[in-house]
């Protein structure tokens, strides 16, 4: 246990920390999502000024800080955008990177609370357990205007904003659970043309996992190991020959996706599917 964790159990330290929280220094985590601007798909960020809904007496613009990383975790672009009260941001990749990049990877969004609202965070219940978060959606569309969208499901664990520096550091270094994970969705083999699994490392440390396709009762049918550094992502394509093989043998009418371990507390994958020569569809794990 770190010295800081021990210190936080001290009643005097707790009282001081509460005063800091009440001054507005509340931990804030940025959600990190997947963008795909390649292979005939275009991505768009959908984000609203949610402070207007929760603090309707403080109707002011907010700043949204956006970071774009490629699949190797390298920073492509970082920009800040203002969102009016009750307004929204719809960002194409060119709006962030300055050009319509052929790329895919991680997009991170942190919404900075307005000054007046920051001081009003103390009006929220149980402030000592409060974390402010910045969920958003990414939509994906093809040239025929077929849309998919999914909400962000995990924050970037390696950086925390908003609180005082030592608290940010302590929270950003918290170890991740990295539990095994199995999807609860059964995918019909008969109609399945394509199956792709997007794995991302939302944690601050390198991790290895196996992307698996399993039978309904959990038996492994196929797997592929990936090692990802922090902020890296990988779109793993399940070979169409394997899908054809499952279809031909007829042993499994449906399959599931699984990971030997997710790489952060809620770092479930995104799953891309194409059925019967139709448009792609996507869901989170």
């Amino acid at each position: 246990m770190s010295a800081l964790s021990t210190l936080m159990k001290n009643p005097v330290a707790q009282g001081s920390y509460r005063k800091l929280l009440e001054s507005g220094f509340v931990p804030r985590r940025a959600f990190a999502h997947y963008f795909m601007n390649t292979a005939g798909i275009r991505s768009r960020v959908h984000l609203q000024n949610y402070y207007s809904m929760f603090f309707p007496d403080d109707l002011t613009p907010v700043d949204a800080r956006v970071w774009l990383y490629d699949s190797r975790g390298s920073l492509l672009a970082h920009r800040t955008f203002s969102i009016p009260a009750f307004g929204q941001l719809y960002l194409e990749i060119r709006d962030i990177a300055g050009e319509d990049l052929d790329s895919e990877g991680m997009i991170v969004v942190d919404v900075v609370p307005p000054k007046a609202t920051k001081h009003n965070l103390k009006t929220l219940p149980n402030i000592q357990a409060l974390t402010v978060q910045t969920p958003f959606w990414v939509s994906y569309r093809d040239d025929d205007d077929n849309y998919m969208y999914v909400h962000s499901i995990e924050v970037y664990r390696g950086r925390v904003f908003g609180a005082v520096w030592p608290v940010n550091q302590m929270l950003a270094r918290a170890p991740q659970a990295r539990e095994p994970w199995e999807s609860w969705r059964l995918l019909d083999v008969n109609l399945l043309d394509e199956l792709q699994v997007v794995v991302m490392n939302h944690s601050a440390t390198t991790g290895t996992t196996r992307v698996k396709v399993i039978s309904p009762d959990g038996g492994e049918l196929w797997s592929h190991e990936v090692t990802l550094n922090s902020r890296e992502s990988r779109r793993v394509v399940v070979p169409t020959e394997k899908i054809e093989e499952w279809r031909k043998t007829g042993t499994h009418e449906s399959v599931r996706v699984a990971l030997s371990s997710i790489l952060s507390d809620n770092g479930k994958p995104y799953v891309l599917l194409r059925y019967g020569d139709g448009p792609l569809s996507m869901h989170h794990g």
């Binding site: 959908h46 984000l47 609203q48 000024n49 949610y50 207007s52 809904m53 929760f54 603090f55 309707p56 007496d57 109707l59 009016p84 009750f86 307004g87 929204q88 941001l89 719809y90 009006t123 929220l124 219940p125 149980n126 402030i127 357990a129 409060l130 974390t131 402010v132 978060q133 910045t134 969920p135 959606w137 939509s139 025929d144 205007d145 077929n146 849309y147 998919m148 969208y149 999914v150 909400h151 609860w184 969705r185 059964l186 019909d188 109609l191 043309d193 309904p216 959990g218 449906s254 599931r256 599917l273 194409r274 059925y275 019967g276 020569d277 139709g278 448009p279 569809s281 869901h283 989170h284």
Partner: protein
């Protein structure tokens, strides 16, 4: 508040409640599971289905269709079940998969704890699929649903909808499905939601109201809202993107957004995010006060406007 809940209908111990898009010519399938594999609350389930018609009238509750031991998963195409029951869907129906602990079989009311209900809700996602096989469209959404509109679980009944997913193009519409459900088939409270379509700059574009009968699902079409206000072309010309801000002050509604390509049938589908996604301790009195202030500042100033009932219910 005691952890014990008496006189609880076991049909709603671990429900999966879902819209059936028959009115839009989609088949609906569900994948449900007994996700709590271990621990004191792990239990065997008996699965049955209930269906409600477009008006919210209870049509049928089936006998037990499946037995699920902890960790089991099953996929059910509602078209197959309805066909066997000789029910022809008219409009958009509502379905419930009831997962009832075997020990409660045949009992009308039981005693449960909030802890065990929440353990089952949080251990699993249910997948709802909408299907048009000839077009290769199979898409869906995963969600969990705790007890809705039951005073024993929810001190107040409100819903705040904030969804920056109102996408409209010449070939695309966005629908917001709103489900009014509870913990008893006898539930009879009508729900109302007022909403605004808001443009990216935060300006109000068009206003509507929707009434959702108990045990039904109603669809707000952004395209219809714009057409009724002669704003469709203008909205599309300005980018075709906006947000629906909705507030129900009398019900906990379950909102799901569906962005539909009217030619290919493709649907982007996702639930909206509850406030705890934004502020992790949100709730209680603070929630009540904030929703009241939001109503005063955002909705009440336009109460004098003529309201448009924007219901899109396919026959």
């Amino acid at each position: 508040m005691s952890d014990v809940v008496e006189d609880f209908d076991p049909l709603f111990y671990r429900p999966c409640i879902f819209p059936i898009l028959s009115g839009y010519s989609y088949g609906t399938a569900i994948t449900v599971n007994n996700g709590l594999r271990t621990g004191p609350y792990a239990t065997d389930f008996q699965l049955s289905l209930s269906f409600f018609d477009n008006s919210g009238k209870h049509v049928v509750t089936t006998d037990v269709l499946h037995e699920l031991t902890p960790g089991d998963i099953v996929k059910i195409d509602t078209r197959d079940v309805l066909k066997k029951l000789k029910i022809t869907p008219r409009g958009n129906m509502l379905g419930i998969a009831h997962m009832v602990p075997t020990r409660f079989a045949g009992k009308e009311l039981v005693t449960v704890t909030r802890g065990e209900l929440m353990a089952h809700v949080s251990s699993s996602d249910d997948f709802i699929e909408f299907r048009q096989e000839p077009k290769g469209v199979i898409t869906g959404v995963a969600y969990q649903m705790g007890p809705q509109n039951d005073d024993r679980f929810n001190k107040t009944r409100t819903t705040l909808l904030q969804a920056p997913k109102a996408i409209v193009t010449p070939t695309v519409d966005t629908l917001f499905a709103l489900i009014n459900a509870s913990t008893s088939i006898q539930y009879e409270d009508v729900a109302h939601m007022e909403f605004w379509l808001v443009d990216p700059a935060g300006n109000k574009v068009a206003r509507g109201e929707v009434t959702v009968p108990p045990w039904s699902c109603r669809f707000v079409s952004v395209r219809d809202l714009l057409v009724q206000n002669n704003l469709l072309d203008e909205f599309i010309a300005q980018g075709g993107l906006g947000m629906i801000v909705g507030l129900s002050r009398d019900s906990g509604l379950v909102p799901i957004s569906m962005t539909m390509n009217l030619e290919t049938g493709a649907i982007a589908c996702d639930h909206t995010l509850p406030p705890v996604y934004y502020f992790t301790t949100w709730g209680g009195q603070r929630r009540i006060e904030a929703n009241a202030r939001l109503y005063d500042t955002f909705f009440a100033d336009s109460a004098g406007l003529q309201l448009e009932e924007v219901l899109r219910v396919s026959a």
